[in-house]
């Protein structure tokens, strides 16, 4: 009793200090959480960082985020076929403090489980460019390149070039990228309905390996020297085909219709390149961020948007619309520079 009595007066300030400390920690935590709520971070994971075509998506995403004060976490594998690295990034988003995910999948099937994990954590997710076999709805939306339209545009161009009669080859069919399969089917359907005299002499599976694609193109050109045109459904197939044609002067009459070339297409350097059907990755990046932010603010947002690709030719490459689509304007962002005096 005596002992307790002696301790009593010393205990009161100690208890009050503990209470104050607890309150301070609670306030700090509250402040931290309030602060983090104000700063929305959205992860954007394109197919690769090794291809310039996705830089436009980065610009689009930053542009949309800049208006709202959101921040963008941007990262991707160095190669398009490194789906393991992309899965690791998606898992990082699932386990991290992100308020949204924008993903351009490298592989349609292997990303099902990781994306389902992200959705299970309630993170709004937008798949861009090429679809996954998961139905849209809930927290999952799609902003896709209209690959069917792209295939039809390629077929129309082939029909115009060949005047309804001729032989073509299709390269770069990659089942990992669902979009290439859709392009291929749309191309073939359009030609069989509208230009039955144009027949597909050869079709080849594609990969992201340019030397491999060049080898495939050379095989086809050797087997079918009478080809009138080649439709290359992937960026690597376009590069491989142009390289193969460059080494065969006798085949310079063959025209190439390509898809998704990195950077500005060089029609002067590659006269056989007739046109490029380019995905509008900038619009995809921008709309994906806007969609996530709209959903966060409780606004209604579409679950599926298809963005039509643009046909780039030597004639329209310098048009404002094309320049704007391919522009990589890095003056946006949260950092504001000033000169040092």
């Amino acid at each position: 009793m005596n002992q307790l009595g002696q301790r009593g007066p010393q205990c009161a300030p100690r208890g009050s200090r503990i209470l104050k400390a607890c309150l301070s920690i609670a306030l700090a935590l509250c402040a931290a959480s309030c602060g983090s709520r104000a700063r929305v971070t959205i992860a954007v994971i394109p197919q690769t960082e090794g291809n310039m075509i996705w830089e436009a998506a980065h610009v689009g995403a930053e542009s949309a985020a800049d208006h709202t004060g959101a921040s963008i976490y941007w990262n991707a594998p160095t190669r398009e076929d490194d789906s393991e690295a992309q899965i690791a990034l998606v898992d990082r988003v699932a386990n991290g403090n992100y308020q949204g995910l924008v993903l351009a999948p490298d592989q349609a099937l292997s990303l099902i489980s990781p994306v389902r994990r992200v959705l299970a954590r309630g993170i709004p997710t937008v798949i861009i460019s090429s679809p996954l076999p998961i139905p849209a709805g809930g927290n999952l939306s799609y902003i896709l390149n209209d690959d069917r339209r792209g295939g039809q545009l390629a077929a129309q161009r082939v029909e115009e070039l060949l005047h309804g009669r001729g032989t073509i080859a299709v390269l770069g069919i990659d089942p990992d990228v669902t979009g290439t399969m859709i392009r291929d089917r749309a191309l073939e359907e359009f030609l069989s309905q509208n230009a039955p005299q144009i027949h597909v002499a050869a079709r080849r599976m594609g990969s992201f390996n340019v030397p491999h694609e060049q080898e495939a193109a050379e095989d086809i050109l050797r087997a079918h020297p009478d080809l009138d045109a080649v439709v290359a459904l992937m960026s690597s197939s376009v590069d491989g085909t142009l390289s193969a044609l460059a080494t065969s002067p006798a085949l310079r009459r063959i025209k190439v219709i390509g898809f998704d070339v990195a950077g500005l297409p060089s029609f002067e350097r590659n006269p056989q390149l007739d046109c490029v059907i380019q995905s509008d990755t900038r619009a995809m990046g921008q709309k994906a961020i806007e969609l996530i932010l709209a959903r966060r603010h409780g606004q209604s947002a579409p679950v599926l948007v298809r963005i039509p690709p643009q046909v780039i030719t030597a004639a329209n490459i310098n048009s404002p619309q094309i320049r704007d689509m391919l522009a990589q304007d890095w003056t946006l962002g949260h950092t504001h520079w000033s000169s040092i005096e």
Binding site: Q3, L4, R7, A108, S110, I112, I134
Partner: protein, 727 residues
């Protein structure tokens, strides 16, 4: 004495328990090894149950109430029964699915492994190759006897045969009756160095097969003779209900195989994916059947193809086939619709491609037979009673689907979080995956699934069990320690008792004898010799005094009263025996709620009390001696009070007895006080802590004290009762 009898009783009880356990074990062993245990046996295939069967090789599945092995594997076995079955027969209807193999029954089987003749036992089967009934002994090798069947049609595939195999002593007999015939072909052997016992099995060799109506019965010598003598007839010929769906295909298959020649314009299965989407294309591919049910898959070195509703004869896994059909290219594999399947020849089943789940989830192995590892995350029954397993490997999740039949057995056996190795057809079609996982595996049979490792031991349940076990072990250790301490104390007390008896029988008796002799001498000495009388009187007094001391010591060493009485009663008894014959009055007093005391505490209090009583009797000349025992909530107090002459306390007066009492008090963490005044008597009090009573209130109080002391750093007022004497 009492302790010894208790020990004897315990020993007897232990022996009895051991005897009962031994008898129980012997009884269990006799029951397990009974050669008639489980007999007679009849299969439950018709009810879709075959849990008791264990497969070694093959693709054993229950289809339409019959056991079916569609594999052409050499020596695929399915086993059941007891290793101790000795004289018995097995019979079944057997249906051959291959044109160049055999199928039949195994008896007295043991030491089985996966392999062609990797078992010890007897096998009887029907063989198409030489139209014969074959009977042989396998012992990880093979010796056989062969007899041509009497059926003019010979042994043919896709036809039912009734096969019976009997073992009695070292005589093994088999008989086969073709469908719709009563004529049996019988073959018997006597094996001088026979295999004595073993289980039963179904077995096929280079051919698939179907078995039904499997029956096992104990056999007698009469059964053996009857079987040997009744080769001419068998009561019930097998009905000729050849599987209707197979019948139409039998002849075509035989014809196809006889005329097997492949087309020259076949193409690789992978190239089908490049076929036109818009123009119908017909293609021919050649490959090996990797799955027949629920759907047909054929595979070549470039990939696999799905063939829905084919026009095909009866197919088995491992058949080399040529398929012609309409190509429908898919993203990852193709489909051949309206296809015609031609069997080229039978082959052993294709081995699986070993891949990771991440590789399989790319779709590259769609429609291909693969082997993959995974951790079992869930299991459920799907449509049609299929077994659906949810698995994870690394970042990927996938599913495995197993047809009903023997999968029920697996369902109960598989534990969540086990690591499994699965072999099956990888399918990415959304019709199977429902877009939940990148791919599913279609397993062919239970044998396509192996448990590599059980669930990790650090599951929540196991950790809790380990903690509880640890606590129980600690508790048992503490209890054991205290029990050992008690045993040690009892041993000391026993030894003291023994010494007391020794002293009583030797020292005390000698003093009594000496006193008696001195008295006799005194009586004999004349009264005039006063000096001598005085000396004898002094010697007698010394002997008497020494005798009393000896008796006191004996009383101190004895412990019997502590076993029967509590401390207070024992001390009262002790005091009364010490003052016996004198006018000193002994009073005992008890206060508070009496409760049992630990043995060590009781013994120490008793020793201190004895010493205090002895001191009072010896030095204080009291007329009243009070022994008082006071029970407090957490302590006990022993007081010995006399109304004697008292003494002045000084260090010189602290003799050996008092120092000994203090030492004893310290050993039980007790405090001892001695109060005395000349002419006012003496009070000796010993205050010892008691073990706390484990009540809810006491537990809460201790927790609160711990909280105050360790968290708030306030030391609560408490009694100095460490109870260290308990340990």
């Amino acid at each position: 004495m009492k302790h010894a009898s208790m020990l004897r009783r315990r020993l007897l009880a232990s022996l009895l328990v051991c005897l009962l356990l031994a008898l129980g074990f012997a009884g269990l062993r006799a029951w397990l090894q009974n050669p008639r245990r489980g007999l007679p046996y009849h299969d439950s295939f018709a009810r879709g149950n075959a849990d008791e069967w264990k497969a070694l090789g093959g693709t054993w599945e229950l289809v339409d109430g019959m056991m079916r092995n569609e594999s052409d594997e050499r020596g695929a076995k399915l086993l059941t029964g007891s290793l101790y079955w000795r004289n018995y027969s097995i019979e079944a209807d057997v249906y051959l699915l291959g044109i160049s193999g055999d199928a039949g029954l195994v008896i007295r089987s043991g030491d089985e492994e996966e392999g062609v003749n990797s078992y010890t036992g007897y096998y009887a089967g029907v063989r198409t190759l030489d139209n014969s009934l074959v009977l042989g002994r396998a012992e990880h090798g093979w010796t056989e006897a062969v007899k041509k069947v009497s059926d003019p049609a010979g042994i043919r595939p896709f036809r039912w045969y009734h096969l019976k195999l009997l073992a009695y002593g070292c005589q093994i007999v088999t008989a086969v009756t073709p469908a719709s015939q009563a004529q049996a072909t019988t073959l018997g052997i006597t094996d001088s160095d026979c295999i004595q016992s073993g289980r039963v099995g179904l077995r096929s060799y280079s051919s698939g097969g179907i078995w039904r109506n499997v029956e096992v019965r104990p056999a007698t010598h009469q059964d053996l003779l009857a079987m040997l003598n009744s080769s001419a007839s068998r009561g019930e010929p097998v009905s000729s209900d050849v599987l209707s769906q197979d019948f139409a295909s039998i002849e075509s298959r035989l014809q196809q195989q006889a005329e097997a020649r492949s087309s020259t314009d076949t193409q690789s299965i992978a190239s089908l994916r490049l076929a036109s989407f818009t123009k119908p294309t017909t293609a021919t591919v050649r490959g090996v059947v990797v799955l027949t049910a629920p759907v047909l898959f054929v595979q070549d070195s470039t990939g696999g193809v799905y063939i829905p509703q084919p026009r095909a004869p009866l197919l088995k896994v491992g058949d080399e086939v040529e398929v012609t059909g309409e190509v429908h290219p898919g993203d990852f594999s193709s489909t051949l619709e309206h296809a015609t399947v031609q069997v080229l020849w039978e082959r052993t089943p294709m081995p699986p491609l070993s891949v990771t789940a991440s590789q399989a989830s790319t779709g590259k192995y769609d429609a291909t037979f693969i082997e993959v590892h995974g951790r079992l995350a869930g299991k459920e029954h799907g449509p049609g009673n299929t077994l659906i397993l949810d698995l994870d490997e690394g970042p990927q999740s996938f599913r495995a689907i197993l047809n009903p039949g023997r999968s029920d057995y697996l369902f109960g056996k598989l534990k969540l979080n086990s690591t499994l190795r699965l072999r099956g057809i990888c399918v990415v079609d959304p019709a199977f995956t429902h877009n939940l996982t990148p791919f599913v595996l279609l397993l062919r049979s239970n044998e396509d699934l192996d448990v590599i490792a059980g669930p990790p031991w650090w599951s929540a349940g196991h950790v809790i069990a380990i903690v509880i076990t640890g606590l129980l072990l600690a508790l048992a250790g503490v209890v054991l320690y205290h029990r050992v301490e008690n045993w040690r104390l009892r041993a000391i007390l026993d030894e003291r008792g023994r010494l007391a008896h020794e002293m009583h029988d030797t020292l005390a008796q000698s003093f009594a004898g000496i006193g008696f002799q001195l008295q006799a001498i005194r009586n004999g000495v004349p009264q005039e010799q006063t000096a001598l009388h005085q000396q004898l009187e002094l010697a007698s007094e010394l002997v008497r005094h020494s005798h009393q001391e000896a008796r006191r010591s004996i009383a101190t060493l004895r412990r019997e009263h502590l076993e029967t009485e509590d401390v207070l009663a024992a001390l009262g008894l002790c005091a009364r025996s010490m003052v016996e014959g004198s006018p000193v009055q002994v009073v005992t007093e008890r206060r508070g709620d009496q409760r049992p005391l630990p043995l060590r505490l009781a013994d120490t209090l008793y020793r201190i009390g004895q010493e205090a009583i002895a001191n009072a009797v010896r030095h204080a000349d009291p007329t009243l001696l009070t022994v008082r025992l006071i029970y407090h909530a957490n302590s006990i107090c022993l007081e010995i009070e006399d109304n004697g002459k008292g003494f002045v306390r000084s260090s010189g007066l602290l003799g050996f007895g008092i120092r000994g009492m203090r030492r004893r008090a310290q050993s039980i963490v007790a405090t001892m006080q001695l109060r005395s005044k000349p002419g006012a008597g003496t009070l000796v009090s010993v205050n010892a802590p008691l073990p706390p009573r484990a009540t809810l209130a006491s537990v809460l109080r201790r927790f609160w004290e711990y909280f105050l002391e360790h968290w708030i750093n306030v030391r609560p007022a408490r009694h100095a009762d460490s109870h260290s004497y308990r340990g």
